[in-house]
Symmetry: C2
Subunit: 412 residues, 2 copies
């Protein structure tokens, strides 16, 4: 056998995968579809907020000078010259020596400089007795107090939640420019695979990577088409891929068929067609591939993940998820990372970065392993709330050693 | 005026709103639609994982005793009696003194008790020279190592992410029983409101609560129909509500029209029709209402939020979001809560629990205010990443005081 090339580091392969996917294009969507998307351009306020001086209370608009001496014992009575509900668009100016009945949010009439809340009056509709002397400006929300016309209320790169959508609406935006969600084809390979719900013969297993990776793509903000898994047949695999790589597909993610065995359909079908297959110094997930596959005129980025479910899902976390999130503009494409101390002693192979499944105790800052490092322990992955990283150079972890922890449940 | 009733506490009104919404019903969904849903029943494994002893490596299945003396200098050569790719369903037993070529994931033949990885052999297909002596069990993944048939792999109440969907598929489940997403009608009121994108007359403002609350409902896991805001007309409001409250609507959330003014359409339309309007000792968001509205045969829970955008969104966070999440089975319906020290001195009205908009610095454990406590500061809400709570009994906060902080961005 020839001398094996040294394996690629995790960081090197992350860079290779990251280079495959450019930012997605910008599309303009209605507010109702903007949630979870990332703003592609700043939102500048076309109006000030509030757009006009308005009342913060139900009560009476007055000139402060007119009621300067008012107290509970000695109220000042003024004629009520106008009634201003919210939304009134023809508000007359307030003549000296008069009051206007006004509701919360209604425009303060020109000439008025204070609001007396209804509780400090007798609530009259013809004439009103006012029993307190407000300072000028009391309970008036002045134009631009929240936002000045022409300033940015949301920066490009903002992730749009309810409040961000709310402020965009408030400045009059019915639509927002956001990056398109990346669309991913998910394709599992393996002749041993049977669809969940079907009968299982000896030697067969249920296909789980397709549903799992499609869910992971959607968690990352992308859209996914899950292709039925294809048998280990190179021609059929190429045919399915060529048919399905069409405009609008940003990435193909395969699982299985990439290791050193005699029947490796993905490797056999894509070697020499733009995809490079490598060993990455990590566990789980050593065998990886990435590149741009070309079929005649059509080309598409492809990331080929190993087939063991845990390898597949962990590889997605390490290589694919951050790239999808970055493509749609996320300011923080990576999982939140914290440091925690190991609750136990662990052994680790030198030369491989381990991504082990764990549970974090945030109160005491410790992390412990769930299951084992073996790549077929899927039930343990489903109980984990984090991945923790044992560095490539380490051969073990002592209790109390500090470890990097990736928090997995942020989307839930 | 009559003596005002003491205001309801935040906790009291939370309990009133919580009592309105029972758990939603259970529906069975395909795996592709299960992400983010909450499992209504445990998932019990119908098969073990792995379902059969299988190889963890590409290599050769052997009887360990047959290769006990093998070394690199003195390999043991065995005839290759079978070729076992993954998915082979008719694997013959391994006769003593023979080896079987085997791929990762393929069934270990009866009689074999160890796998020699291909790198420790000459890779022969007729005969194979084996240069290492594996212990019994080496590289064999035994049946049930991950999951035993009949055990629960996912508990009721599990929030379904990619890994949980993966393990459900692996034990053969094509569908999962989950709680239905609560469906919410969102309805804004106010004659001053204009749809974003339309021209604005003096005295009018853009309607922002509808899009904001609909996004907040979806963030919470529900589905939302945003009704066009209706003018301040009691009859028209009742008509719209009666038409739209149909089977499948779990909750109506209104905003506006609930305070002490002269034109309070929601209050006027629903008082005496099952909805109680109260003052809650909180800021923002004092005027609140909740109840079950009835129109003839039809009834539906209603929560009426105040109309100021910040009051509306904060009230949703405090009262509605946890109730929607609990209804769909979430084990942790509330926002994640942490404690942080105030970065500044703040004044606070006695008798009102304040929910102020802030930014958390998780590294130094401090929180600071964004904007002001005023309920029209929507742009500040859009820049906040948390709400922090100033208790009802406090009249101020000193720098360094510990505050309860609700983290807002967990869904992003």
């Amino acid at each position: 056998m020839s001398a094996a090339k040294p394996p690629r580091t995790v960081e090197e392969h992350r860079a290779v995968v990251a280079a495959l996917l450019p930012p997605t294009g910008v599309e303009v969507v209605p507010l109702a579809e903007a949630r979870g998307r990332v703003l592609a351009e700043p939102v500048t306020a076309a109006i000030s907020l509030p757009p006009f001086d308005n009342s913060a209370m139900d009560g009476y608009a007055v000139r402060a000078a007119d009621v300067a001496g008012a107290t509970a014992d000695s109220p000042v009575t003024l004629p009520v010259a106008a009634d201003i509900p919210a939304g009134r668009t023809d508000v007359p100016p307030l003549e000296p020596g008069t009051a206007a009945r006004i509701m919360t949010g209604a425009p303060v009439p020109a000439g008025a400089d204070a609001i007396v809340q209804v509780e400090l009056t007798d609530g009259g509709t013809e004439r009103v007795a006012i029993s307190a002397a407000p300072a000028a400006g009391t309970h008036v929300r002045t134009v631009g107090e929240d936002v000045f016309e022409g300033t940015a209320v949301l920066d490009a790169g903002t992730v749009l939640g309810a409040a961000q959508i709310g402020v965009a609406a408030a400045v009059g935006r019915a639509t927002l420019p956001v990056r398109r969600r990346p669309h991913v084809l998910v394709l599992s390979t393996g002749s041993e695979l049977v669809a969940p719900g079907e009968p299982l013969a000896p030697g067969q297993i249920y296909e789980s990577n397709g549903a799992m990776l499609a869910a992971a793509v959607r968690d990352a903000g992308g859209t996914a088409d899950q292709l039925r898994f294809v048998p280990d047949d190179v021609e059929q695999f190429r045919k399915v891929l060529a048919e399905r790589i069409v405009a609008g597909v940003d990435l193909v993610v395969t699982s299985g068929g990439v290791s050193a065995g005699a029947y490796e359909v993905v490797k056999d079908a894509l070697t020499g067609h733009g995809v490079e297959f490598v060993k990455v110094g990590m566990q789980p997930g050593g065998p990886q591939g990435a590149g741009v596959v070309e079929f005649g005129e059509v080309s598409c980025p492809v990331v080929t993940l190993p087939g063991n479910p845990v390898s597949s899902q962990v590889s997605f976390e390490v290589f694919v998820r951050p790239v999808l999130r970055r493509a749609m503009g996320h300011p923080y494409p990576d999982r939140p990372v914290v440091t925690a101390r190991s609750r136990e002693a662990l052994r680790s192979p030198a030369g491989r970065t381990q991504f082990r499944r764990g549970t974090l105790d945030a109160r005491d800052g410790t992390v412990g392993e769930v299951g084992s490092p073996a790549s077929h322990m899927l039930a343990a992955l489903a109980r984990a709330d984090c991945l923790f990283v044992v560095p490539a150079e380490a051969t073990g972890v002592h209790p109390g050693d500090e470890l990097e922890v990736w928090l997995l449940d942020s989307a839930l």
